[in-house]
């Protein structure tokens, strides 16, 4: 409860003013964003910077951010006690191990499924890590597995442009730029294989990227 309150304060008074006033966001397709009150969803996006998560969460009202949980690498965000406390308790990330070899899917995705069944939303980056600027690497199939286990929950593909200029991988210097977010219509798991569904998601994100390029070339 106290952590939820902290998260609310953090977003309402620090992160959102920062994102909207200092950086600035152009959003396209905001209507495709789910109303969190109505149920869970899986938000999928390309990943180039730590800002991506803050940006996506800032699209929702500060109150709704309490119910949003980014899925993040345990080896990066939980490698010290302090980091683990800040990220899991206050920001509400779901740590996931990137190094698991053989384990049952139910077990790996236990935390995620719990949140989804409780009607909360997760953010996941299927590229698996922060990639190079304006390049989409091949998506990993994790999202499709989650969608298969929860076929009634919509998957919302997003394309983010800009945060890689604000805070690229490997630097600590923040430089203000305007970011763009493109949100596409929700997709549901359609009983094909997880591989096909992953490709479908990647195709949707790439379509958004094309939309962005077209706008740039206008």
């Amino acid at each position: 409860m106290i952590y939820n309150f902290l998260k609310y304060i953090l977003f309402c008074f620090i992160i959102k003013p920062f994102i909207y006033l200092i950086f600035g966001v152009n959003v396209s397709g905001i209507d495709n964003l789910p109303k969190i009150a109505k149920g869970a969803s899986i938000i999928v996006a390309n990943h180039n910077s730590h800002i991506d998560t803050l940006l996506l969460m800032s699209l929702f009202s500060s109150f709704q951010t309490i119910k949003i949980h980014p899925v993040a690498a345990a080896d990066y965000f939980c490698n010290t006690k302090l980091k683990e406390f800040i990220f899991t308790k206050i920001l509400g990330i779901i740590p996931i191990s990137r190094k698991v070899k053989k384990a049952s899917k139910e077990e790996i995705f236990k935390d995620i499924n719990e949140k989804l069944r409780a009607g909360e939303t997760i953010i996941i980056y299927p590229e698996g890590t922060r990639g190079e600027t304006s390049e989409l690497t091949k998506f990993k199939t994790g999202v499709a597995h989650i969608a298969k286990m929860n076929p009634q929950i919509p998957v919302i593909p997003c394309y983010i442009n800009g945060p890689d200029r604000i805070l690229p991988k490997g630097t600590f210097l923040w430089v203000p730029f305007i970011a763009d977010v493109y949100i596409s219509e929700p997709i549901y798991y359609d009983n094909t294989s997880t591989k096909d569904f992953t490709e479908k998601i990647q195709y949707a994100v790439e379509a958004l990227k094309e939309e962005h390029k077209k706008r740039e070339e206008l």
């Binding site: 600035g24 200029r165 210097l173």
Partner: protein, 319 residues
Amino acid sequence: MEHFIFTPNVKIAIFILYSFIFILMTIIKVIQITTKKDLDNIWIRMKSFLLICVFFTAAFCFNKIVAFIFLTLISYLCLKEFLSLIPIRKTDRNVLLWAYWSIPITFYIVYIQWLTLFYLFIPLYMFILISVRMVLASNTDGFLKNLAVLQYGLMTTVYALGYLGLLAIIPLQYNPKGGAIGLLFYILVLTVSNDFMQMFCGKAFGKHKIIPKVSPNKTWEGFIGGIIGTTILSVIMAHYLTPFTLSQSIFAGAVLAMFGFFGDVTMSAIKRDLGVKDTSSLIPGHGGILDRLDSLLFTAPLFFHYFAFLNTIVISRGN
């Protein structure tokens, strides 16, 4: 806490401006309801415009510090829009931060009324500093282009907008009728109305394109209509808000109209070069803040120097 002086003439002028906006908005709403025409676009534009006016008035009504913070914020948003448009090299990220820091420094210099330093800060000191910092980043690929783009961005979005602050600190003795706010009001209203009259005359009588390759909507008829309309408005407003004589106000109106037009098309040319339509989507119906202020980028410095030339203004630190 220092406040701006609103002379009676300025108060009346602001009242007239708001009445004009409200009458225009009422007319639009009435036309929309009676003829069922789709005027949502114009309605959104008017609403945004009203909001901009309210922000401006509120900032300057409060006190000097609030007004300068407001101007700093506007300048910051402009530079950010400009830098977000252009392709940036990864090695220049440090240089960009330096450029951002020049904004609060510039407006602080204006705030403490150190005029000479303001004249020199961006064109000389930042010119040198940015070059030095970019050299130290030691990346020669596209060096000149990136350096030039950044200098141009600073000149337009920081130096030119700094003149708005400079107009605001002109002592009352130089303009007893309207004070500093009167001059600021005069240039802002003339620049915006020039845009409006150019668009209106262009739509109504426009046939001959003036520079089709840069801006296909601009016509000779709109340009000339803008100059005539702005000059007339300038003569009327100058009588109540400025110490100008008739010939001086005609000259000021014509120059503002002409260079307002050139500021506008210069930004159009930049956008066309970069391949974008609007600089951002910050103001609903208008595009970015840079789209709205583009005409002001040339007119504000020119107007200040014209006024200073006529009055041989002496503003020293602390007076």
